[in-house]
Symmetry: C2
Subunit: 189 residues, 2 copies
DNA sequence: TTCGTTCTAGACCAATCGTTATAATTCTGC
DNA sequence: GCAGAATTATAACGATTGGTCTAGAACGAA
């Protein structure tokens, strides 16, 4: 047990990478197969429901990755501003490392499929809920009321998602780093 | 003169609508042709460079639409918070009217093509620059220094782009309406 | 009417799309 | 070694992809 099927993992990882860079529809199963190194016949064995199931798995994997990263940062930073700054710096680093070709690993897929594909949309919803929990927790821990903390967390996610779009178009990490201002702003009426 | 070719306009309009809802790669030229009502032979007559040129035109049309809307709201609202609130309400209305199927008319296309396609990326860059000008103008008019105003405008755009993603996934206009808080927040260190 | 331009139809291209079915292979427990 | 399950290869499916080419229809000006 625990093998968790190397080939299956490679398929999902490769799908995530390609969906992130070039989108869901543009990434053919052939390309995913080829770049993952998984055997041709293994795709429909591990994913009998085809591409949509692979898309869902890719979104779930991405959600886990980001979620783990956020939890790690939340453990190391009690101050919300410092936390969001670390978050922004991490994403900016990824963006730069990809030469501004890869942003959020779920945004493109979701925009192409939500809400038409229930499976992928549900996976995306869980991802956003999970991230919201973590980020709101940091604000709450700092004394912010629960409801405000969740709204603020949503704003951080929105701003980050948008910033990852602007960064690719502008070919600059500036929009990403500016997101930190959301954390330190005072609440509104 | 000024006919501006009805068929060409219909092609671009239809392309914008479809790219917005289902993405750039998922929208075939056949579908665009069919839904636009334009003659089959007219596509490559008006767009000899093919789909990419159509994508660029769609992005430019969308940029114009949003730009005009923003300028109209900027004329009617001198208070930045009121302006962003009106902006958010407009976008929320569109989102709801489309049954949460259509968000930003350029985001999906850009995520699928930037920065690989220089033409589409350039069109997207101009769009964002234009919107930034309008929004920053409202903040400046309210007394905010120019640099801060432009940064804040970028945050509003980022937050709105991200909120349009979250809205589709959540099937709720809440994330969009929350963007107004960006306008009324105090600046940061 | 005639000429030249603008526009459109239609056939066709090779390539790829996601998917299915069947058969062969490899692995695992006994 | 044998049986059965898990995995993989291969071929083919119909549909569609974006793009090209040629022929001709519709048009405007002289």
């Amino acid at each position: 047990m625990g093998k968790a099927s190397l080939h299956k993992d490679n398929l999902v990882r490769t799908a995530m990478r390609l969906f992130r860079r070039q989108g869901y529809a543009s990434s053919g199963l052939q390309q995913i197969l080829a770049e993952s190194g998984a055997p041709k016949g293994s795709l429909y064995h591990y994913f009998p429901d085809g591409k949509e199931a692979l898309g869902e798995a890719a979104v779930r994997l991405a959600a886990d990755m980001i979620g783990r990263m956020l939890r790690d940062l939340a453990d190391r930073h009690s101050d919300p501003t410092a936390f969001v700054r670390a978050y922004a710096r991490t994403m900016a680093g990824w963006m730069q490392a990809s030469d501004f070709e890869s942003g959020c690993p779920i945004a493109t897929t979701l925009l192409e499929t939500a809400p038409q594909s229930p499976a992928i949309t549900a996976a995306g919803l869980q991802a956003i809920d999970d991230w919201t929990d973590v980020i709101a927790g940091v604000f709450e821990r700092d004394g912010m009321p629960r409801r405000s903390a969740r709204t603020r967390a949503g704003l951080v996610i929105s701003a980050m998602e948008g910033a990852l779009i602007l960064a690719r178009v502008r070919q600059s990490t500036r929009p990403i780093l500016d997101v930190v201002q959301i954390a330190s702003a005072s609440g509104t009426a």
